[in-house]
Symmetry: C2
Subunit: 191 residues, 2 copies
């Protein structure tokens, strides 16, 4: 059930059999229906979610009630509001499945005990967050350097399947564009 998670971890660190067993024994599995929520704003984010299948989106609700997608979680990606998770404070984010999804859940309540038993997990998460941080800085750079149209094409080139997979309005929200703008770009390309 957690094979993809173990493989992901073992790309970064080595686990022995006892550690693998311990990890599997403390993770929780959840199958989330399409549009099902793993986190709602105002609640504490008490878990980290590793996407085994499907797709999650993390978003905030703006003053005008419009949803702003901050990131998507595809298989092999961790989603969490770290600030809320580490400080036990209400989150501003929602985490929702955009399609039927399966997640492996690491609860805040057991994290410290798990890390003390498998200290190399600190290294795993250090490397994961370092990469994610790096990617978000690259994204910030691209945001300013590229036009909306260039951003769309860059994204579509990097994630061709994904562009087909999520509704256009979600992609628009993620890229800071309007759905209408994406329609125009797609129509242009189709010509």
């Amino acid at each position: 059930m957690y094979e993809d998670l173990l493989n992901h971890i073992e790309k970064y660190i080595r686990l022995n059999d006892a550690e693998r067993q311990l990890l599997v024994s403390v993770m929780r599995y959840e199958k989330v229906p399409k549009k099902g929520f793993l986190l709602k704003s105002g609640k504490v984010c008490s878990s980290r979610f590793f996407v085994l299948s499907g797709c999650l989106r993390q978003y905030i609700i703006k003053e005008n009630e419009v949803e702003q997608i901050i990131q998507f979680g595809l298989p092999g990606w961790w989603i969490c509001d770290h600030h809320s998770f580490e400080n036990n404070q209400p989150s501003e984010y929602c985490v929702q499945a955009t399609e039927v999804s399966e997640v492996a859940i690491l609860d805040a309540a057991i994290q410290e005990d798990l890390f003390s038993k498998i200290p190399s997990l600190e290294r795993y998460f250090r490397l994961i967050f370092q990469r994610a941080y790096d990617a978000s800085l690259t994204r910030i750079g691209l945001e300013y350097c590229m036009s909306g149209e260039e951003r769309y094409h860059q994204f579509a080139k990097n994630f061709p399947d994904f562009v087909q997979r999520v509704p256009q309005y979600m992609l628009a929200s993620f890229l800071g564009l309007t759905p209408e703008f994406i329609s125009i770009i797609r129509a242009k390309k189709g010509k």
Copy 2:
């Protein structure tokens, strides 16, 4: 010399005397003149820089030769191109001091040995990168949710000293605005 660094680390993890001494013995100190470079694009980023005093900026050069600032490094902040650092690949970024600055330098060549001798540093960097990643997601959210003017005011409110400290064109680059636009906002506020 490294007191601020040790204090920063000990906000997150405990170090014993031997660990403190080891850390201090392997860090390098550098005083960087205003406009001095710690990294130039095309070179491998072979160090992590902890800002002891002054201010660094990390930027890319866009196709039109315009500099896009990705982030500033104020005292207590680590600056590094992690991708270049971990993979020994040429960086796309430049890191330059915006004023006379002092940095504590952790070289890639000694990192693994240091982490094996002080494993809790993995935890320290895990927490640091988790926070930085979180902050960059918040920044991405603000970018889309706020107008340029709102972004400027939010930034000026959060970092009032800083707005006075760096040249207007750098602040504009960081916020994805033009220097002229910032002039207009400031003039409005002055009225």
